[in-house]
Symmetry: C2
Subunit: 683 residues, 2 copies
């Protein structure tokens, strides 16, 4: 016997323990008295493969993974850069276009202001990324805005950051997918009509890949980013060379789809509007700071340097694309036309040429990679929130492939819904995107200021100053973005954040309340049980499953009643006659149910049992013992256990009642076989 | 104490019984020793209202009904006629059109043959209805084809009839809905484009109404039939008068949509084709024979007479519409144009006039009524098949509103799917419709022949002759319809019937096999249980729910182990320290699970327990006692019990293991309160 018994002293006993404890070894390490540590093999549920939908699952999601298979890979900078930067760098695919879409109402001259505007946004990017370098250093364990804000400001600030981040991740999926699809229909305009279907199909694929436990690692995930950066730098270089030599655009953009040039004056509102639109370039900048532990040591330093490289790359691409677009006089098209970045590439490479198509493919790929980043980040944050009891606990459960399945499915569903509602239009989605990002930035930087004031390490005032500048700047941008884009959709995000926080708090209070309700004072000692037990076994007739259940009941108490609920008095009398002969010593109660109901009459019978109990004696615990069929195939779920499940649900509502499920299977040796002595060979 | 104990003799004991038995009275009648009969109140599950989706359900489906509320209403002939005939009579709305659609390829002259063709079909109708009058008399309890064929021919014949009937009911829903919608877009052509949506919406409404327990009774269901019959007779009368006075059509049909007249010769194939098309007029004729018990006494006579009235009405309407259509030179239109019956009405009343719109509304209404007839018949037949174990048992379960919910939902789903696949086109659906009907007819009449040979009551040879004529005639028609319409879709029905029978047989064998597996020989006597029990309680810490579960476990056996699976060794040590202080006498095993898994390590622990059991002793029954949260609100399902459910599923696969669920609720007085003496006031 093992477990829970203190090992006795003396050699003989020790020998016995060795013999007896060997069975542990595949599953556990014995780590002390009454103490086992599970090995990976024990973490796999052995019975799980019996589930009915297993075949389909395996086909879609692959074989189950043991926990050991989650390799925690440390990334060198040259892999970490592309993997953590895809979200940020891919924003250059749409940021220029968003600025041009604003300026187009003020005529051709205003379009040229977009270069200054992109410079201003890159300046903001510089401040934010310097500010985030500090986060890398201060939180080598991964400084997500939730953690930084909660630890340094308050729980509420943490929740605000978490809510904004969750919105952010959803919007990254929606915007990047929409943009990726728009790159595709920039090449094949016929696909415009099924853009939403393509987007949903892409999300479905990414969802399945992530439920399969896709890990972002290796060259496969690094290459699209490098490809995009390389090709874009080529486009910018060739473009600027052409413009400088006065060659202009090779391919004219399709003029019938271009947005008309307006004549509005270039006022402050328009400039702020363009700034708010372009600030979407900053989305995804925080990813590196969240992923510090994935870097090779020295983690903090490597991450900080990667952050700088990323910011420089993003800045160069963004400004470069804006300059070339301006130089070629490219302006945005109506819904369904090619994207600005596609027109830039077409102007440089020639429309329909192989380099053009390759460029578009690279752009679409890096955007899908950005989507995938969110598919890693959203479930991970949800799991942290679930562990902190702000979200339902199942968000912290890992699926068979070690993925946080609930989070993945929640993200895919919400993002898919948003894509459907907004008709897959990138431009329409942008106003919802940038608000959450700047909430996150502001809280994170503000948290860092508090952090430096607390730790006061050498040079803290300097570091606090950098973060304070970042916080103030991002707060101002947040105010600008929110007020400028309020009616376009920013209001929705502003409204959603408090709603999410209400839900977080509600969930937290529920868990706290139910814990408090069942909590014990540390000095309370559990009483010995002193209640009487009685057993009720609902039976449908006499068979092995019923006898097995009755015998389980008899091992609990000598007070066992079998109850037959039947609408057929003749059958009931047959059963009674057989019962008295075959199951001596156990009473059979026949409850005739003319209306064919099962659950109702049984509950009423239990009620009557309770009412007839002497009122001066403590109520006994009623064990209701139900035979339950163990399905071996998915279709068996359709054929069996339907009334059992209903009965179980109804019984779990009764006071002083517990439900014991006795499984039966066709193959299983049962009470009778055992009796016949065939026990040994059947086991 | 009641139940199962034989009442003792003697006055004193009798007195005690009176005092003790009063609690029965709201729920049961005491009908003998150990024998209770449930009253209606006991058939309602008291705990059902706790289900999470209750509010939505109540809104959609209304309050729960007790079984007593199913009034079995006896119908006078004037109500039975319209209610049971809607299916048959409504076929006149499309039968003429189906004939004309065939003849149109042979030119204007051939169209006139449609009158002779309708006369031939009405002759067939006469034979079939006389034949069915016999069924009414022989099966006053309702002679569905399944029952007649099974009792008189064989089980297989019964299953063939059942399969054909199920297909029939599905096709009635699909065809009648499609035809009803085509009557609607005959008035408002703009609705043609959303015909499938309208059809699905109508099916959804009828589904909800039937899940609410809609009963076909009263004037509400009778009026559309009378309205349709009355208005159609008016159309026919006015039409024939016009034709006789040579006034011709008032409104010309929209010629641009008419099918072109062909020049094919009027050969035998074409005539058979038209016959097969028109025979769809006979669908629904069997309904009265199925519903005999619903008639006022003398049931059989009343039903037989109603059958005759129905056949005469159907015959008159069908021939009349054909004559008027021919007289006005109306021919079918392309898909999307008005129906023939709509053009007839428009020709008589004038297109767009109020009588025309009223006529179309009445036509649509009677067609929807025919749909509703199937919504009664399909679930009822499924329930009979489920009770005979040919379909999953849940088809025999009644929902809260006493409706067979599974059957209703299955019918709506399949019919809806068919409507979508066939694009809501009545004409395309017809080939699938008439095959099943004639299979049913043939088997039913053949069964009756055998019936008369068996009972040999006075005049049996005459009655057998009538049914034999009916059987042979319908068999010939079946052969014609099947061969003529084979490629148009009849093959699908021919293929479906054996598939359904395979499923029926498979389900039947499953139930039989699992019953045989657990069956006992009548001479076997259940052994006294002699196995050891042990208890394992998975715990998450120390709280009232855990203590309650531990105490339930201690009442089962003295061999109780609590198992804490945790990924946090510090927490585990805290719990152990508290456990030793607060739950003395129960061992706590700590299983450290570094990968956060719960189910796997617990199952592995149970495996180790089994392996360490002395091999020469019989394996004990392991009771795994799990605290289960009782949800009070729907959202609590999202917050609690997720890991419990997974654990339960996995454990039910283990041999020698039973699972005991100990419910806990926030309000519930628990083991500790009881100990404090507050027990009495809390109960």
């Amino acid at each position: 016997m093992i477990g829970g018994r203190r090992p006795l002293q003396g050699r003989k006993v020790a020998d016995r323990r060795v013999r007896v404890e060997r069975p542990h070894s595949p599953y556990f390490r014995y780590t002390g008295p009454g103490m086992l540590t599970a090995k990976a093999a024990a973490s796999l549920a052995p019975a799980a493969s019996r589930r009915p939908s297993e075949t389909i699952r395996r086909l879609l999601f692959g074989r189950r993974l043991s926990n050991e298979e989650e390799a925690f890979e440390r990334l060198p900078k040259k892999l970490a850069l592309p993997i953590f930067s895809s979200d940020a760098i891919s924003s250059s695919a749409y940021a220029t276009e968003e600025i041009l879409r604003v300026f187009v109402v003020a005529g051709a001259g205003a379009l040229l202001v977009s270069i200054q505007m992109s410079l201003a946004i890159v300046a903001l990017l510089a401040v934010v990324s310097v500010s985030y370098r500090q986060v890398c250093r201060a939180y080598p364990s991964g400084g997500g805005a939730y953690v930084v804000a909660r630890e340094n400001i308050s729980h509420l600030a943490g929740l605000v950051a978490a809510a904004a981040l969750l919105i952010d991740y959803v919007m990254t999926v929606a915007v990047s997918t929409a943009s990726a699809v728009s790159q595709v229909y920039s090449v094949v305009p016929e696909l415009y009509d099924i853009r939403v279907e393509i987007a949903l199909g892409a999300i479905a694929l990414i969802t399945i890949a992530n439920l399969r436990g896709l890990r972002e690692a290796g060259l496969f995930f690094a290459s699209p980013t490098y490809l995009f950066v390389g090709l874009t730098l080529l486009v910018i270089g060739l473009g600027i060379a052409r413009i400088a030599t006065g060659q202009g655009a090779v391919t004219a953009p399709p003029t019938d789809q271009l947005l008309p040039l307006g004549t509005e004056p270039l006022g402050i509102i328009l400039i702020l509007r363009a700034f708010a639109a372009g600030s979407v370039a900053l989305t995804g900048v925080e990813a590196i700071a969240n992923g510090v532990p994935a870097f090779k040591p020295p983690e903090a330093k490597n991450a900080a340097n990667t952050m700088t490289t990323m910011a420089i790359l993003l800045g160069v691409l963004f400004i470069g694309i804006t300059i070339v677009a301006d130089g070629f006089g490219i302006r945005p098209t109506e819904q369904g036309g090619p994207t600005v970045i596609a027109m830039v590439a077409a102007a440089v490479f020639g429309d329909g040429t192989i380099p053009f198509v390759a460029f578009q493919a690279a752009t679409a790929l890096i955007l899908f990679l950005a989507v995938n980043t969110s598919f890693n980040a959203f479930p991970r944050l949800s799991a942290i929130l679930a562990r902190d009891e702000y979200m339902p606990r199942q968000f912290a459960f890992r699926g068979d492939r070690l993925a946080f399945s609930w989070g993945i499915i929640a993200l895919a569903s919400v993002a898919g819904l948003i894509l459907i509602i907004f008709g897959g239009d990138t431009h329409a989605l942008i106003p919802l995107y940038s608000v959450g990002v700047f909430v996150t930035f502001t809280l994170s930087q503000a948290g860092m200021v508090r952090h430096w004031f607390t730790v006061r390490e050498p040079g803290w005032w300097w570091r606090a100053g950098v973060n304070a500048a970042g916080a103030i700047l991002t707060l101002v941008v947040l105010a600008v973005v929110t007020s400028i884009k309020f009616v376009d959709g920013a209001w929705l995000v502003i409204a959603l954040i408090p709603i999410q926080i209400l839900v977080f708090t509600f969930v937290h209070r529920q868990y706290a309340a139910s814990r408090a309700q069942v909590a014990l004072r540390p000095d309370q000692v559990a009483p010995e049980p002193h209640r009487h037990e009685r057993v009720v076994v609902p039976v449908s007739g006499i068979n092995r499953a019923v006898i097995q259940a009755v015998n389980v009941g008899r091992s609990v108490s000598s007070d066992v009643r079998a109850v037959l609920v039947s609408d057929d008095p003749v059958y009931a009398e047959e059963v009674r006659a057989a019962w008295e002969r075959q199951v001596p010593g156990v009473d059979l109660i026949v409850v005739e149910s003319p209306y064919r109901a099962l659950t109702g009459p049984l509950l009423a019978y239990l009620e009557v049992l309770d009412l007839t109990w002497p009122p001066d004696k403590e109520m006994p615990v009623t064990f209701v013992v139900i035979p339950e069929f163990v399905p071996r195939h998915w279709w068996e779920r359709l054929l069996y256990n339907q009334s059992t499940a209903e009965l179980r649900r109804a019984l779990l509502g009764r006071p002083d009642t517990v439900v014991t499920s006795v499984p039966y299977r066709r193959e299983e040796p049962d009470a009778f076989r055992r009796r016949d002595g065939t026990d040994a060979e059947n086991r």
